[in-house]
């Protein structure tokens, strides 16, 4: 069965640096991947979607890449700020309307 994996270790970086988070999947390439942000005790908030035929997607300081050869998506936050500190989740849709989330990577941006 398909698995989606994220680095469970927290990522600690200095303000102003670029944060890079990884999402790996096994087996088949999903048609798209989504990235969400989750703050403690709150629901996930959608950030970006990238389709399998797109190499890269950008939104302001965010960039997502999708490499079907490596079976991997990378999520970048440039010029990171302490306010970017949160847990970032990747997700995909398996069958029609059935979704799987990764365990998330916690990002800590230090001032």
């Amino acid at each position: 069965s398909q698995k989606i994996e994220q680095n469970s270790e927290a990522l600690n970086i200095q303000e102003g640096k670029t944060a890079t988070l990884t999402c790996n999947y096994t087996n088949y390439s999903p048609a798209y991947l989504q990235w969400y942000r989750q703050d403690p005790g709150r629901g996930p908030v959608f950030l970006l979607l990238i389709r399998e035929n797109e190499k890269e997607k950008r939104k302001e300081r965010l960039k997502v890449t999708f490499d079907t050869t490596l079976k991997q998506s990378l999520f970048h936050i440039t010029a990171s700020q302490p306010a970017d500190s949160a847990t970032y989740l990747c997700a995909y849709e398996d069958n029609f309307n059935k979704f799987y989330f990764g365990s998330g990577t916690k990002l800590n941006v230090k001032p």
């Binding site: 048609a31 798209y32 989504q34 989750q38 005790g41 709150r42 629901g43 996930p44 908030v45 959608f46 979607l49 389709r51 989740l89 997700a91 849709e93 069958n95 029609f96 309307n97 059935k98 979704f99 799987y100 989330f101 990764g102 365990s103 998330g104």
Partner: protein, 114 residues
């Protein structure tokens, strides 16, 4: 900006009791979802709902669970006989199309089963 709302924010119940968690999705959305997140663990898909019926459900969504859209605005999740392991945060989400578009999540209901 429209948002998904959920009530109550926190529900405490005794094992074996029935609970109903309520959600009001965004009004023009067509697809509705329930997820749960046990403390410190990943967000887990429970069920999706479209056109007044279940589209997909996970292995977690057994006979103890049911969903309903009773009045065209509310979307409810019922757990018939709660177990200790049902303690979790339950999130409702909605989207205006299939998952190729973003899901809007509610703030969640924290369910504590004692």
């Amino acid at each position: 900006e429209p948002e998904v709302t959920q009530t109550p924010s926190h529900q405490v119940t005794q094992m074996g009791q029935e609970v109903i968690l309520r959600c009001v999705p965004i009004s023009n959305h067509l697809y509705f979802y329930w997820y749960r997140q046990i403390l410190g663990q990943k967000v887990e898909f429970l069920v999706s709902f479209y056109n007044n019926e279940i589209s997909e459900k996970s292995e977690i969504f057994d006979d103890q669970f049911s969903v309903e859209r009773p009045d065209g605005s509310n979307f409810t999740l019922k757990i018939r006989s709660t177990k200790l392991e049902d303690s979790a945060m339950y999130f409702c989400a909605s989207s205006d199309s299939t998952g190729s578009y973003e899901q809007y999540f509610g703030p969640g209901t924290r369910l504590t089963v004692t």
